[in-house]
Amino acid sequence: MSLKLKALLKSPWVFHLSTGSCNNCDIEVLDCLTPRFDIERFGMLLAGSIKHADVLLITGSCNRQSVVRLKRLYEQIPKPCLVVAIGECSLSRGMFIHSYNCPVPLDKIIPVDVYIPGCPPKPEAIIAGVVKLINKIKEGKAKKK
């Protein structure tokens, strides 16, 4: 494991991006940050700016207008970074798969490291997914970016 990745895992700062979700996944992400689930015990903090972030949390079905913004944000995040897709919409667009406004799923636009399914996923599922990601990197199996 490179030094950069090791430093990233100590305290991954997350940036939360909604690409046109119904807000349910966003509420669950917010739930993770509250004292009840408290992902700060894993060192995770919500970053206000993408330039401070190590992990990109993405919810929503990537519609035509937000794909442009998504790409712009992905260019700005410091590498190496990790991308987490949260919820059915960002995995496969869910019920919006035939929508005129959602042509391409998220993992065809940018590389995704962890998929957390559910509509919306429980906070426990989100935490489990992120912990799995951290373990995956520690074992050196994750994609290098």
Partner: protein
């Protein structure tokens, strides 16, 4: 004015403009009018009856493009929906309500881009929601919409 007076008043003022009145429930009434008399009736409901313009909705049916303008008279809790039917075989055109009340501005822009209805006299009929790459003359909420994007992926990859 109570509910019955209002309906009677509308009936008496616009006998030639009204096609049909459907009294659905105590809180809701649908008034179908001719497209040419839309501005007159809407102006009366908005300015004289003091109704609030909620929103408008466009529906693509088999032979007609329907627009429903929803007005609420809050004092008596009545929702009036003005219904206009545009013949699909002719040009889809109707007078804009945006010069009368500003609230109609954006919803008319939205109906213009999603259903392709032309609003005559609208101050600024630009695009509102669709992205810039969207081609001209393709209206996604019409029944005969066909996929135009060759790059779109429509399977779940499993």
């Amino acid at each position: 004015m109570n509910r019955d007076d209002i309906l009677k008043d509308i009936n008496a003022r616009f006998p030639l403009d009204i096609v049909d009145i459907f009294d659905k429930s105590p809180k809701r009434v649908y008034i179908e009018i001719k497209p040419v008399s839309l501005t007159r009736v809407a102006k009366y409901i908005f300015k004289d009856l003091g109704a609030r313009f909620n929103t408008a909705s466009g529906v693509d049916t088999r032979h007609y493009m329907e627009i429903l303008y929803h007005f609420t008279i809050e004092d008596i809790g009545l929702l009036i929906s003005l219904k206009v039917k545009l013949d699909k075989s002719k040009k889809l055109e109707i007078d804009s309500l945006a010069p009368i009340f500003e609230g109609a501005n954006w919803i008319e822009r939205e109906m213009h881009e999603l259903l392709g209805i032309n609003f005559k006299g609208h101050p600024d009929l630009r695009r509102l929601l669709l992205s810039d790459e969207w081609p001209e003359g393709v209206y996604p909420l019409r029944k005969d919409y066909k996929e135009w994007d060759k790059k779109a992926i429509r399977d779940r990859g499993v």
